[in-house]
Symmetry: C2
Subunit: 369 residues, 2 copies
């Protein structure tokens, strides 16, 4: 068995239970240790691996064969893409569980990116009112974003992530080697979420990123592993304070209210989530500048970091009325009023409805048709 | 406003929060106090009432008009029947929520029996990862069974209640007057669950029922209210010990493993749930007798109580292989072994796989084709 070049882990504490995130390398290779590492977290003898048709050819066989000795292993391969993050895919998971005669002892394993993780988690939350699940995130975005927080769910035709549950995994295995097979656009999309943590929580991490982004973009796995670990720690700290997102956790949605408008308007899957968040963070930064909280230089610094990661810094052209109407569907609307996460300074975010509506319109109109 | 003839309440304690069950009379009448009683438990301004096409003509207008002054009220009327307890109905609830532009401040109100309550609860558990809900159970079964425990969910084509969540209401309003419009078969089906509590938990309650069943069958609302209160107390006690059904809570499924076979075999809706549970409790009692735990006289006593409530005491003819195969789909199968709830004596139940398979077959074969 290959010895990983690095191996690190952290423990996430939640209301229901604590679980580890193991950050490692080469576990998913043929002679890797994937099955061995996750086996202790499988409680019964029944395993359903949920993956998609892009990830399956890369890592499924190693996982399936590694587990087959000790467990009854079934597989559910879904089509790849945000457009399949819907009830129909959840039904396919339920059908696979029922066809296998699996019961509440089953453990679901999500092998894939955020879409696979969110759907597998929701299926695990709702099958027989809740069964175990384990995440093996294979994209940078899911390694930093979906590994912590227990958010699971699917999209509704009228809005993203409208259906779901809070449901925590028993263990997360983040293998940095999977990033070698990740398309460049998706690597950048993951880095957008990493930059987000710097902007809302820690200015010194932004400085770290300004130095280390070139290494991350050229797949230095140790540096990527360090970034993933730091983000999981930031997120775990926030989630521990506010598991059900009634307060501080909402700040993690920085850039997302603008980003959701972009994703909904463009159709799921055309803009990657991280790309939409990148453009959305720029809009939020621009509004923060209009409010007098950020300087022009600080907004430029944010723009430059996003550009280092090959990320978009402007939204597509959307007319103002459509944009504002789509914002009204966002979950952060409270009593009919749009609330946004803005920056008081780099490293410090607030959730507020105390902004000038005209300034919000201006942020959209400078990019609109 | 009419003064209720009686008014009683109890508090249910759960891991997430405590909530009241208010047991009353005439609240649902036109000049009743339904809206006034539930309004304090609605947290935002948005209300979606979920009901079915049988209950809507009876009580919807009074509830809707009572709430319309203070809240934005929308309604989702589903077709009545266990056969509609499925994903398609949940999708209708989601669609109604999205069409109304409701967000996580919404409160869902379930106005109807157990099917409406289970589905509304699951929609509340999964819309935006969880919103408030209130139950107004209008059948005896749902008043005693669904008011406590937080079980919500829907059926899968291959099995009952396979999809769902544990999700607690903010308040339950059980109006005994709704039982006046309940079909006689459904009143009996509700009494089956009441008898269940006596059999598994309290022999003195069985004696109480032997005395009071005639009054319950002729709709003495005060006696029915007393029975509902006692059952909610029994159930609350069990659920407080074991909210997620890892131990003692499983005993509440007495008669249900046999009953599920009957319901699945006959097609949902042909046997009422309570009727299937009644026949299932007799089968469990017969197996308990074969195990040497109950006497012939005790089994007869159970049969006589069920007959006082006009309940079936034998299952329909189902061949043994089909019956045992259907039992394998039940959630109480652990590591592939069928576990059953049996009676050690009247008032004392156990969950066990320590029974002779031949005796289980005998219990089915004495009624099979």
């Amino acid at each position: 068995m290959a010895t990983p070049l690095f191996y690190d882990s952290l423990t996430v504490r939640t209301q229901s239970h604590d679980y580890p995130i193991v950050i490692t390398e080469d576990a998913t290779s043929k002679d890797g240790s994937m099955a061995k590492q996750i086996a202790p977290y499988i409680s019964g003898r029944q395993v359903l691996i949920v993956t998609n048709d892009t990830v399956a050819p890369l890592y499924l066989t190693a996982l399936e064969e590694g587990l087959a000795t000790d467990f009854t292993v079934k597989v559910c391969v879904l089509p790849d893409g945000e457009q399949y993050k819907n009830q129909s895919s959840i039904d396919k998971i339920y059908d696979a569980l029922m066809a296998a005669h699996f019961n509440r002892d089953v453990t679901l394993i999500a092998l894939g990116g955020g879409v696979v993780g969110d759907m597998t988690g929701f299926a695990a939350a709702s099958f027989m009112r809740g069964v175990n699940f384990i995440q093996i995130p294979t994209t940078l975005l899911s390694q930093v974003d979906s590994s912590v927080g227990g958010k699971t769910g699917i999209n509704h035709a009228q809005g993203k992530n409208m259906i779901g549950a809070f449901w925590q995994p028993k263990m997360v295995l983040a293998d940095m080697s999977t990033l070698k097979t990740l398309p460049a656009r998706e690597l950048s999309a993951g880095i957008a979420e990493i930059i987000k943590y710097a902007l809302i929580m820690d200015e010194t991490f932004l400085t770290w990123l300004e130095i280390n982004l070139p290494a991350m973009m050229t797949l230095d796995l140790a540096v990527l592993g360090e970034a993933v670990k730091r983000c999981c720690q930031y997120k775990a700290k926030v989630v521990a304070q506010d598991e059900r997102e009634s307060g501080v956790r909402a700040l993690l949605n920085f850039g997302h209210t603008f980003g959701h408008v972009i994703e909904t308007h463009q159709g799921y899957g055309n803009w990657l989530h991280g790309e939409a968040v990148a453009a959305g963070m720029m809009q939020a930064a621009e509004l923060s500048q209009k409010m007098g909280w950020l300087t022009h230089d600080e907004v430029d610094r944010i723009k430059n970091v996003l550009m280092l990661a090959n990320l978009p810094t402007t939204p597509p052209a959307i007319d103002i009325k459509t944009a504002l109407d789509l914002m009204g569907h966002d979950k952060k609307v409270k009593h009919g009023q749009i609330r946004l996460i803005l920056l008081k300074s780099i490293g410090s975010a607030i959730l507020t409805n105390d902004f000038d509506d005209q300034l919000l319109s201006d942020v959209w109109s400078q990019h609109s048709v």
